[in-house]
């Protein structure tokens, strides 16, 4: 076989796209049966390409964590709405250069990639003593932030059932859930979700040890640990790492442990180094058209479930100005936006 991309791009494109395209469903009246309309709706790529600038929001540089690894950069948007204390602490840790020189210590297949100082948030004095000192401004004890009051949370609710929570949807572009009876809302564990590792004490996390979901959505973690944000770009630098050979995917070979060169807030970087990442607003007609276009596809598809799940409905991310080879779009669950 040749090394070039196969000629049958259309079919492969469909195969590549059907995950996000079939995943989203907004119109409850959409046909459950195969449909190949003579004039199919615009593709998601076309919709995004022609959407007005106003449907995109700039990512606040104070909420954008830039982690530089030997193989590339990972961009994480923090969610102060859901985890204000943790986000403040992570900002303080980043500003103080705390993460610089630490490493990725764990990669468990189909679960999480974890980095930082695993000794930092342990209750054991013997271990605590081995922890890397915190910089000024960072706290060694902050409250658990598993959920927030639902009142006032601007959720773009998904119409489809979710077995894990009474209500799910997008909040500020983050996958989230809510329980109207309890009046609570929280961020959900989807591919790319970033959380703060903790010990047995619910308030033992500080942000000194973070993890990103690299496999099937472990929604069972929801409400059991503090979620601090999601990866907007660079997931492949966390998901394609060698899996750890020790229990729970911890690295047992020194050469496997990947050093973190630097973790900085975008706001602390020189203007020319700040990535111009934008996240699609979900309170827009564009998002709704995207949902409908994704649900009503014909062509390659012969079955449309007329349904989506929260983690298959990731909100598109783009880099502005127009992406070049080195800053191509990389929204984990919307590969078509990468074209």
């Amino acid at each position: 076989m040749t090394m070039k991309i196969p000629f049958r791009a259309p079919a492969l494109a469909a195969l590549a796209l059907c995950a996000p395209l079939l995943a989203l469903a907004a119109d409850a009246k959409a046909p459950k049966q195969p449909s190949q309309p003579p004039q199919p709706p615009r593709s998601s790529a076309d919709i995004l390409a022609t959407a007005p600038a106003a449907v995109w929001r700039e990512v606040d540089p104070d909420n954008l964590l830039v982690m530089t690894l030997p193989q590339g950069q990972v961009f994480i948007e923090l969610a102060p709405r859901f985890a204000p204390a943790h986000v403040d602490n992570i900002r303080a840790l980043a500003r103080g250069g705390y993460y610089d020189g630490l490493a990725i210590v764990r990669v468990q297949d189909n679960f999480v990639t974890q980095w930082g100082d695993p000794n930092a948030d342990d209750e054991d004095a013997g271990i605590k003593g081995k922890a890397k000192p915190f910089p000024a401004g960072a706290k060694s004890k902050i409250p658990a932030e598993f959920s927030i009051p639902l009142k006032g949370v601007p959720m773009t609710v998904l119409p489809d059932v979710d077995g894990w929570a009474p209500r799910v949807g997008q909040v500020d572009g983050f996958p989230a859930a809510a329980d109207p009876k309890k009046g609570t809302s929280w961020m959900a564990h989807c591919y790319g979700t970033v959380g703060a590792g903790r010990g047995n004490a619910v308030d033992s996390s500080t942000g000194a040890e973070l993890y990103a979901v690299i496999g099937n959505a472990p929604r069972g973690l929801d409400l059991n640990i503090t979620v601090v944000g999601r990866v907007l770009k660079g997931m492949e630098h966390l998901s394609a790492l060698p899996r750890g050979g020790a229990a729970m995917g911890f690295y047992d070979k020194p050469e496997q442990k990947l050093g973190i060169e630097r973790v900085a807030l975008a706001s602390a970087l020189p203007a020319e180094q700040r990535p111009a990442l934008q996240v699609l607003r979900t309170d827009t007609p564009t998002w709704q058209e995207l949902l409908n276009a994704r649900r009503n596809r014909g062509g390659w598809f012969v079955h449309s479930p007329g349904y989506t799940d929260l983690c298959s409905a990731a909100v598109p991310v783009r880099v502005k100005p127009s992406p070049g080879p080195d800053v191509k779009l990389n929204e984990p669950k919307s590969p078509e936006t990468r074209r």
Copy 2:
């Protein structure tokens, strides 16, 4: 920080285990609120360790595909119940050494890793001409096998709602779904699911091009393509590969393309080379105890959803005799069985 595994294993173990442990739910009466019973049920590891041999079934060597890559071996169980024509063809292709020397050509983050000959199942004559010839016994045209009649399918039904299908559960250890009204059943796309790539024609797949799911379950693919089985062991050899830089994750750098040394049926290997893989039977009290133990955990967990989704309920796999360093358990979604 040190290079050794952090001392706070209990907490990390809980973090590592909660995905599969919280994921499964069998008892509708289980408390929705936090529970820390003074005497928690046995752990999943204990249950599996003490289960009678009868709860494990040997994998039929005629259904076990062994793919040898430079970095290790991937073991795929084929599902003749769901895709008899494709499984027969894949057996013929493997017996004829068809896959040997082909390569992994595509790795799209949070979607699939694909291998084989991308030209083999294309309708375009120009491309078809570039396809690697099939060995004797392999057919270039077989029917699409997107679903089978539900009647007689031995499904261990999951009690929890699934938005993608009216009914879901385990069949022969494979994640599956069913539509009682239509009287159909099919395999679902979960982490580790293996399918046969196709062109625009539903019957253009032959098994010459295969893919494995390496990200969040792309259930939207269900009923749109022929699923042939699932990876039982060695997922990390497919999931940790560098992502492709071209559209849809195709490799654009020759040095990235990973050559396949050999793909053989276990039945074609010398007895001493056959992996003794076993899959837990789901029609057993052990499976039910596993579900209950996973649902009723206390300790690290402060919230239990009392729910699972199909793809979080992967059936445990083990290697018998007792695993050594080189044949450790590696069931994608049940990391605790790896201890």
